[in-house]
Amino acid sequence: MAMTGLEARYRRLLGWFPADHRALHAEEMIGVLMAAAPPGRDRPGLADSADLLMGAARIRLRPGAALSDRDGWRDALAIFSIAAPVLVLASRCLAILGVGIWGVLEVPGSGWAIFGGNDYALDRLMWGQLVVVVLARLGLRRWAAVAAPIPALAIIAPITISLSGNIGYLVQEMPGYLGLLVVPGVEVVALLASAGPRRGIELLTRRHWSYLAVAAVPAAMIQASGLRGPEGRLAEAIALTGTGAIVILVLACWLSSGTGKRLAVLLAVLAYPSLLLIGWQFGQPSTSYGAYETYETGGVALIACLALGLVYRVRRRSRSASGTSGEGMA
């Protein structure tokens, strides 16, 4: 039987169901949907579409259901382990480049400034992402997982200690600081729970990389427009809107596959550039906490991590060249 446009559209909607559910029920569901469709209909009705999406969500949210697509999630995490740091890094580089070209443009009397090149904490976080990318590309995913949270921890830990005597202030400030850990935290999970960035690179085509490059542009624009408002509310809205645009772009590019949908879920959960910025906005450390020194401590730890990873790689290569087996890291 030739597939009609309606059937093809229903099949696309069924793509939202978990793979094992599709394998078991897709054909009978298509039969039911086609039998129930009014004559002459060539696309699913709104109610049917919403019902299928809700049904898929119910099954996916059922306890234990997520494990049924383990390989798909592992692939999505593998892509994320390389795509997320690349995107964050690329957007920050573009933002700095943009600010370098345009300078700082202040809006007189408003307290607002177009600003983006002098975020010490944010730049340290970006250096962390660079180290993650380098280590991941070298196949040292466990070292990359160690490096990922170092800059955020280097900012958060000393501030936590310095504020520990004032619990009320600590509780007020900490959510913002913890926002800085969201991206590195999920990166750590992605690096350790998947086959790693090498698998991610295998799965990414040239087209996907170009999508990432395009997605980095609005992310950079959000950063370059700065979170420097007097209240920060508008800035948060800009950041969230911009992130939404990026997520939609990436969703549109990847949604045709199950792995792409899972990746989109990861990206949506993270909303990484905005979370970095919002975390920074809510919890701007001041020099009174000795923040600049802590940034440098984090930088030293990052460089140490990079150096140790490289040493490890050289030693592993020399061991494998001489025929000695060793524990694999990647």
Binding site: M29, A35, A36, G55, R58
Partner: protein
């Protein structure tokens, strides 16, 4: 087995299967008849419910057939499903009796 009150779609699906094995579209049309058109199950809701109730072993696949090049899978109640439906019917009957009794008392 869950002791939570069953939601209406689940109750109607089990009721539909109580008469004998049914395929998905048959369950949908049967439920529309059982509820006098008040409940119209759609495929997404139906198969999410079938999936959950299969996991809870309230129903099982009876047999499959191909009709007009389409797969039809027939479901049947398991003994656990029959017990659950009976318990749910008893609960609803008790609730309805209590409500009727109160209404009679209020009206007298």
């Amino acid at each position: 087995m869950s002791n939570k009150p069953m939601q209406e779609p689940g109750f109607l699906i089990l009721t539909s299967l109580a008469a004998g094995p049914q395929h998905g579209y048959g369950i949908m049309t049967d439920i529309a008849q059982l509820s006098a058109g008040r409940v119209k199950l759609r495929a997404g809701t139906l198969y999410a419910a079938l999936d959950r109730m299969s996991t809870e072993q309230l129903l099982a696949v009876d047999h499959e057939e191909i009709v007009d090049a389409r797969l039809r899978r027939y479901y049947r109640l398991t003994p656990a499903g029959r017990s659950r439906l009976a318990a749910e019917a008893a609960r609803l009957r008790a609730n309805a009796a209590a409500a009727s009794q109160r209404l009679r008392l209020a009206g007298s």
